[in-house]
Each structure stands twice: as C-alpha cells, then as structure tokens.
C-alpha cells in the first residue's frame, strides 16, 4: 500500500496531504519480544469513517492506542492532521519522544472512547463531560457546563446531567463517554469496541450516536464487529490479523467479495 506523503524514511516534516486526518506509515510495535504490530499503514481522510475488524489479539486495540500515543511506537510513524504524533526530531535529526505537555496537547484533539467507558465514578455526568474543557482548554465553568448540557442533550441524556455513572446503564455510560470526547471538540475520534461491553438491547442507542456523528462529518476510526453498522456507516473497512492489515475496502466489497481466505473465515465466524 502507498505510504502517504512520502516513504517511512522521509523526515517527520514531510508533507502529508491536508485532507488526511490520520496517516500511519509502517507502524511496528512489540511488547517484550512479541511483535503485535508488524508494519501497519493506514490513511484516514477528513470526514471518513474507518471500521477496523479482525480476530481477538490481532492488534486492533494496540494500533488505536498508538494513534493517540497511549502506546509508544517502535518503528514507523503516525501523523494526525499532518503532525507526527508523540515524537519530534531533535537538532541532530534523531527521533525523540515528545515532552508530556506536547503529547497532551496532541491528545486533546483526538477523542478516545473505551470499551469499558472509563467514566470518572466520583464525578457527576456533567462534570465528566466538563472536566477536560475546563482544565485543559481553560474554558470557564459556566461556558463548559452550557456546552456540556447541550452535548448531553444531543446524545439523549438531557435528563441524566446530575446523575452519577453508577446510576446509569451501560448504553448511557457509553453515550456520556462519547459526549466527554466531543466536549474537547476533537478533529478525530477513536472508538475501541464501543458496544462490546453492552447488553444487546443497548447497542443500538450507542451506534445511533456514532452514526449521527458520521453524518455530521466527524472523522472516526471504530473497532467494531457490528456488521450492519459497518456496512451502513463505514467508508472503509479494514481487516487486521496477526498484527497486519490483511485487506481493506468499501464495506460492500469487503463483506461480499473478500479477497482473502482469512477475511472470509473471520466473517463466517462472526456473522
């Protein structure tokens, strides 16, 4: 596959086309001596929705976490909005990890929605949503709360503003988590199996919110095995196995005419 904006050995300031929100180039990652990402490259254009599928342990979560630098990368580069994520080149041209404050600034523009929500259990729903804007963006409490209320209404939780996470259903928690990510006004949102911890009857309400975001043009990478959702919302479906991308394509192509046996076998198993 083509490495966007130049090859992996190009400098970090290499021009990445402006309409590419994510540009991952030959990403390698090992835990101890086990390589779990074996050269993953992926482009995500502005407004595009990419759905990542693949068997458990294939490296989907690890790849997603690399995109906002929750995991370091051993080799290769990831650009978000044209900026190298998590690293900089020093005066001698060597790649070094960025300072914590710079990494934090980059993450502020990248939303992340976790499988297990990770809401702050000691804060109200509204405070969960407002903490980031207030403490990171330095928005006043009033303004943050006004925006937070509007976001919570948008995800259908206008009546739960003062509730605590412990009092919510799984589907409601995940919608709060999405509102919390949106409150930072991110340019990209990463979803790691957002519905796989939910009871079946709550999956729909969460997917509806994500679908709405897609129609509003939000750029998203979603790890999900909800095939109906992927078919409807994805611009690109990416099949990963054993730390590498097996194939990618439009949902209709990939689901109906998979080119690889491994994709066929995986789809047969989950459908």
């Amino acid at each position: 596959m083509a490495a966007p904006g130049g090859s992996a050995e190009g400098g970090p300031d290499v021009a990445v086309p402006l309409d590419l929100v994510v540009s991952a180039v030959d990403v390698h990652k090992s835990f101890r001596d086990v390589e779990v990402l074996k050269g993953v490259s992926l482009d995500v254009a502005r407004g595009e929705v990419v759905v990542l599928i693949g068997p458990s342990g294939s490296g989907k979560t690890t790849f997603l976490r690399c995109i906002n630098h929750l995991e370091t990368v051993d080799q290769g580069r990831i650009y978000v909005n044209g900026r190298l994520v998590g690293y900089r080149t020093d005066r001698r041209g060597r790649i070094r990890e960025e300072r914590a404050s710079a990494i934090a600034r980059q993450r502020a523009d990248i939303g992340f929605v976790f499988q297990h929500f990770n809401l702050y259990p000691n804060r109200s729903v509204l405070d969960n949503v407002c903490l980031g804007p207030r403490k990171v963006r330095r928005v006043s409490r009033d303004e943050a709360e006004r925006a937070g209320r509007a976001l919570l209404r948008r995800v259908g939780l206008g009546s739960k503003i003062d509730a605590h996470p412990a009092q919510l259903s799984g589907g409601q928690k995940q919608r709060v988590a999405i509102a919390r990510a949106l409150a930072m006004q991110p340019k990209l949102i990463l979803f790691d199996e957002p519905t796989s911890a939910l009871d079946p009857e709550m999956i729909g309400e969460v997917l509806t919110v994500i679908r709405d975001l897609a129609s509003e043009g939000m750029t998203m990478v979603v790890v999900s095995h909800e095939m109906g959702f992927a078919r409807e919302v994805a611009d690109q479906v990416v099949m990963m196995d054993d730390g590498a991308i097996v194939e990618k394509g439009r949902p209709a192509e990939l689901f109906d005419r998979p080119a690889h046996e491994r994709t066929r076998a995986f789809l047969a198993k989950i459908l």
């Binding site: 929750l70 404050s101 934090a104 992340f112 990770n118 903490l131 990171v136 919390r180």
Partner: protein
C-alpha cells in the same frame, strides 16, 4: 466509699474525675487530641510523597522510600520516641527546646512526640496511599490523558481524588491506633492524658479509678472518631453515587498495631 476485703473502689472520686475532670486532666486530653490530629495530618502529606516516591521511575528514589517504610515499621514506636527525644540529645545531635509561637509555648517533648508520631505514621500512610493509588483503575488515567491532561494533572484531578475513597477506611484505623498510642509519649514526659492520670494516681492512690476514667476518655475519643469516619465515608459514597453500606463497626476495634508490634505488617 465501698471498702471490703480485697475490693477498694472510691465511687465518689471516680464520678468526680469522670464528670468534672481537673484542668490538668483536660489539658492532658487536649494534648492527646492535638498531637494525634497534627501528626495524622502531617503523616498523610508525607505519606503521599512516600507513595509517589514508591512509584518513581528512579530506582534510588524507590529504594529510599522502601527503606524508610522498612525501618519505621520494623521498630517499636516506643523505642523511636526514646531515640528521638533522649537519644538525639544524649548524642549531642539535637536537643528539643520549648518553642514559643505568639501566645503558645510548645514544649520540647511535645515537638519530639509529634515529630516521631508523624514519621512513624507516614510510613504506614505511604503504604496505604500506595495501595489506594494502585486500586484506581488504570483506565482512569488513560481516560484523563485522552482528554489532553498531562500525566501529573491526570494524577491530581482524576486518580488522587478517587484514591481518597480507598484511603479513608485504613486511615481511620490508623488514626484510631495513633490516638491510643499517644499514651506512649508519657515516657518522654509529655503531659498527655495517661501521664496526668499516672500523676493523679501517685498522689491520690486512686489508681484503679483514675486509670478507668482515662480508659473511658480514650474510648470516648475513638468512638467519636468512628462516627466522624462513618460520616466521611458516607459523604464520599454519595459523591460516587453509591448508596450507604451498613457500617462495619468491627473496623473501629480492629488493632492494626500495638506497642510491641515489630513485624513488617501487611
């Protein structure tokens, strides 16, 4: 006055001492309370520093924090008091002198006692806070960092406030033990409740009565604390949106440490 063969109990003295304690006794009570409170507060701050040191990336920092806990928890508090007050003076290293701040004078032995209780309790608080920080789901740190917080800000705004919930029950146990252990400061001459009782006993010979009164006052202190602790725990639970669990009274009585405890503990 009841006076039979083998039983001597001065009821009038007992009730008077209990209900109308002398001003010396009340000052002793006050010393017990303020030494405990001040030492616990300082120990909590120092304990947080020790807990963070135990998580440091620098091996030497971790080692120092570990050694500190090892020594403080592995030696008796009574011996530590004697070492700090008598030992340091005898070796010519430091002699605790009375300190006058505005209208109040803090006697040297009280300073030594508060310092020792703080240093000792900090070792335990360090372990308690370390365990509490570890009990917070790592996903909390990641969620906070994903909204653009630096690790240190995420620690301060998200992780530490959640750790408080896990700190309060063992802290309460320790504070309960500390209030009782302040009686050990009598050996360096601190005029706390037990030493005052001892002095009353040697003057009046109402030994049983006055020690019984002192016991009841200690019991009163620990009982008041257990009520305060329950209120704090309930408030925190409410902040987490959790209904109050039935209070476990047994926690109030469990003794985590005694004078003779020289083990490394849990």
């Amino acid at each position: 006055m009841i006076s039979t063969v083998g039983l001597h109990f001065d009821g009038r003295f007992f009730w008077t001492s209990l209900l109308h304690p002398s001003s010396a006794f009340l000052q002793g009570l006050w010393a017990t309370v303020y030494m405990s409170v001040v030492a616990q507060l300082l120990a909590t701050v120092l304990g947080l520093a020790l807990a963070l040191a135990r998580r440091s990336k620098v091996g030497v920092v971790r080692g120092v924090a570990w050694s500190y806990a090892w020594m403080m928890r592995g030696t008796p508090l009574l011996v530590q008091l004697a070492l700090v007050y008598f030992g340091l003076a005898a070796a010519g290293i430091y002699r605790f002198a009375n300190l006058t701040v505005g209208p109040v004078t803090i006697p040297g032995e009280v300073q030594a006692a508060i310092l020792t209780f703080t240093l000792n309790e900090a070792a335990y608080m360090g372990e308690i806070i370390r365990a509490a920080l570890a009990a917070v789901d790592p996903g909390q740190m990641e969620a906070a960092m994903s909204t653009g917080m630096t690790p240190s800000r995420a620690m301060r705004l998200v992780v530490v406030p959640q750790a408080v919930r896990f700190v309060i029950p063992p802290l309460g146990n320790d504070f309960n033990a500390l209030m009782k252990n302040t009686s050990l400061a009598s050996i360096i001459g601190v005029q706390e409740m037990f030493l005052v009782s001892e002095q009353v006993s040697s003057v009046t010979f109402n030994t049983f009565e006055i020690y019984l009164v002192a016991s009841l006052y200690y019991l009163g202190l620990t009982t008041v604390w257990s009520v305060i602790q329950a209120v704090i725990e309930r408030r925190i639970d409410r902040r987490w949106g959790i209904r109050r669990e039935p209070r476990r009274w047994s926690a109030t009585w469990s003794r985590r440490r005694t004078v003779l405890d020289v083990g490394l503990g849990a």
